[in-house]
């Protein structure tokens, strides 16, 4: 499906699967997404392939009625590295993985498998922080409309998802940078000038979002444009929690996030550090960009 000249459809969906208590729920979530996008589902498992492991996998797939329905990629090595390599080799568009809402302090700084995938994946990533064996359709979607190279892709993907899921609302969140206003307002503006400047800034931001939305079809979905001010990322999480959203859609970070960004968090690092709900990090690969 072509949204705003951006091919937002996921053709191949990968699932990073381990034999953990949430494995079945994750399989159910990935299966639902694959059906929704009519995509091929590929399972990626990092671990030594032997009869006992294969048997465990068969049992898992039988329970979810997925046996024989999907390709399984077996890899050995460092999980995060192997999962990302497998995604690249299999040309996966969307990688599904599970993650805790929040890691402990050591894991936060060292980086868990799920967090490394969020930060470094070269494709889109769907992170389920509370997967269910009987997943429900997504109804409340929040999309981050911060200036980024992936902003159009993120909004288009959110609109497409909302259309497929019949979600009534999409909340498009954009940050209002008040830094300049606070600084220059001091002893420089009258109250009226201050309010007018604030209104003008707000109008400019809303117009910027509306311009993007005008190119993206969203026939049955109502759009709520929400301006937030404060630390971007942090305020976004607060809004998502307030709305009790099912899914937060964000564009991939423009540059790779490192340990430094975890020590001095900003933007998406706030989201990655403490997931407010399920997360979709949109990063449509260049070769797909603009193609039908």
């Amino acid at each position: 499906m072509l949204f705003s000249g951006v091919n937002t459809r996921f053709h191949k969906i990968g699932l990073a699967v381990a034999f953990s208590p949430t494995a079945m729920a994750l399989l159910a979530e990935a299966d639902r997404l694959a059906r929704l996008f009519s995509a091929e589902l590929i399972l990626i498992h990092v671990g030594k392939r032997n009869p006992s492991e294969e048997e465990k996998m068969d049992i898992l797939l039988k329970k979810t009625a997925l046996i024989g329905q999907c390709k399984i990629v077996w890899r050995e090595g460092k999980p995060e590295k192997e999962i990302l390599n497998a995604c690249h080799e299999e040309n996966i568009d969307l990688l599904v993985a599970g993650a805790l809402k929040k890691e402990n302090m050591v894991q936060h700084y060292v980086g868990s498998v799920a967090r490394t995938i969020m930060r470094k994946a070269g494709c889109s990533v769907y992170i389920a922080n509370n997967p269910s064996i009987t997943p429900k359709p997504i109804q409340q979607i929040v999309v981050n409309a911060e200036d980024s190279p992936h902003i159009e892709q993120a909004i288009a993907t959110a609109c497409q998802l909302a259309t497929l899921e019949n979600a009534p609302w999409i909340h498009v969140v954009r940050e209002l940078k008040l830094l300049g206003l606070t600084l220059s307002a001091n002893s420089q503006y009258t109250e009226q000038e201050y309010n007018e400047s604030k209104q003008e800034m707000m109008r400019e931001e809303i117009t910027a979002v509306e311009k993007i939305l005008a190119t993206i079809p969203h026939p049955k979905t109502k759009i709520n444009i929400k301006m937030v001010s404060g630390k971007s990322g942090f305020e976004l999480c607060k809004f998502v929690e307030r709305k009790q959203a099912d899914l937060l859609v964000v564009g991939a970070p423009p540059q790779r996030l490192s340990l430094f960004d975890r020590i001095f968090p900003h933007d998406l690092e706030y989201v990655f550090a403490d997931l407010p709900c399920n997360l979709l990090v949109v990063n449509l690969q260049k070769e797909n960009y603009g193609q039908a």
Partner: protein
């Protein structure tokens, strides 16, 4: 606690009232001409001080601002607290979030904008210290280092205002200029603190190695552990305490605590306040509204007192040296425009845009005046140099906007 006499109380209250009133009136006049309030406040001080009132009617001036007197000592204490608070809000203005976001691109621009003016500002006073009015010939190197720092620093609020007036604040160039100015300020104040510690006003000079390590340790600890603790405390304060009283009290308590700590370990108090400001301003729990209230409280009460007091303590006519002033202005323009211009050009902008950005970075504003005043109090510079620095700060702040506008319109 000591007690003030009835006359001292009346005197002090009268001084504060006149300073705030005249400062505000002239700040409003400056605003009409689209100039920063600080320009009006400095002129208010010049009019109330020895330069104008002291010349026209010395008796009135002496009656209003008697020196020495108890009220003068207390007023001086007010001004000291005002400087600490001004540096605190300068720290709040440093948005680490934007610095990290833009930092990689802005680092080159800011380093050029820092190193070249610093070098030009250092080299001339180092070889011609007498011309530049060195106050203490034993502090030859320190004096040259100070002059270098004075040329390297920039005034973020003035820059932001100009960028907003030109409607380019949110463009790539606007964010680059703002981020570079923030990085320059942080590095500039670190260098200045090291310089002040090398003079050692109270407890004797510290070795440069010790000073640098103490300063860097303080910065790192405050921006990691300190910031983390603030982040833990603020949600509790926001939830359990009255708003904005709780957050305001905590902010200023931390500001004074940081200032006291740095003064105690031998770095100047203003540096502690600045770094606490950076740490607090970076907390996601310190809301924009809280920041606004702190800004308004300090900018509209303590900042005017400080800037008006500048004119009260120095005679701007007696200490005006046109050749020195002109030289300092030329060095300030040359260093910053060349340095920041080159840095911005390397960031991928055209020469015209690069020089426009450099003109924005050239604004020195209030920060230069604070820097000069601290150096004057430390006996590092004399009143002639101080007056020249204040004039340079005003000229660069007033010319930045029009120059930038002219270059971008061409």
């Amino acid at each position: 606690m000591g007690k003030l006499s009835h006359a001292d109380v009346v005197h002090l209250l009268l001084q504060l009232s006149i300073m705030l009133l005249v400062g505000r009136l002239l700040a409003e006049a400056a605003r009409k001409f689209k100039q920063p309030a600080v320009i009006g406040e400095i002129i208010a001080g010049i009019m109330l001080g020895p330069t104008v009132l002291g010349m026209i009617n010395p008796e009135w001036f002496q009656a209003l601002f008697p020196v020495p007197s108890t009220s003068a000592t207390i007023l001086s204490g007010f001004v000291q607290v005002a400087v600490v608070m001004l540096l605190f809000i300068a720290g709040l203005e440093v948005d680490l979030h934007i610095v990290w976001q833009q930092g990689r691109q802005a680092l080159g621009t800011s380093l050029f904008g820092l190193i070249i003016p610093f070098f030009i500002g250092f080299i001339f006073p180092y070889y011609f210290p007498d011309f530049f009015g060195i106050a203490d010939t034993h502090q030859h190197l320190v004096f040259a280092l100070f002059m270098g720092t004075a040329m390297a620093i920039s005034a973020l609020p003035v820059i932001v205002r100009i960028l907003m007036d030109l409607n380019i604040f949110k463009t790539r160039m606007g964010l680059l200029v703002v981020t570079s100015a923030m990085i320059d300020d942080v590095i500039g104040w670190i260098i200045f603190s090291v310089i002040l510690s090398m003079i050692g006003k109270h407890s004797g000079a510290m070795s440069i190695g010790y000073t640098i390590s103490v300063t860097i340790t303080f910065v790192v600890v405050m921006l990691t552990v300190g910031r983390g603790l603030i982040n833990k405390a603020l949600p509790w304060v926001n939830k359990k305490m009255a708003w904005p009283g709780g957050v305001l009290s905590l902010s200023l308590a931390l500001c004074f605590l940081g200032a006291a700590l740095t003064e105690f370990i031998g770095i100047h108090a203003i540096f502690g306040a600045f770094i606490i400001g950076v740490a607090l301003g970076d907390s996601e729990h310190f809301s924009e509204r809280a920041k606004e209230i702190v800004h308004q409280f300090i900018n509209n009460i303590f900042a005017p007192l400080f800037f008006v007091s500048i004119g009260l303590r120095v005679n701007f006519i007696v200490n005006f040296d046109w050749l020195l002033t002109l030289t300092i202005i030329v060095i300030a323009f040359a260093g910053k425009i060349l340095g920041s211009g080159l840095g911005t050009r390397l960031g991928g902008f055209s020469w015209r845009e690069s020089f426009a950005a450099a003109c924005g970075m050239n604004a020195r504003g209030a920060m230069e005046i604070i820097l000069g005043l601290v150096a004057l109090e430390y006996g590092l510079i004399n009143e002639r140099v101080f007056v020249s620095l204040v004039i340079m700060a005003l000229v660069t702040s007033m010319s930045s906007g029009p120059l930038m506008k002219w270059l971008l319109k061409r």
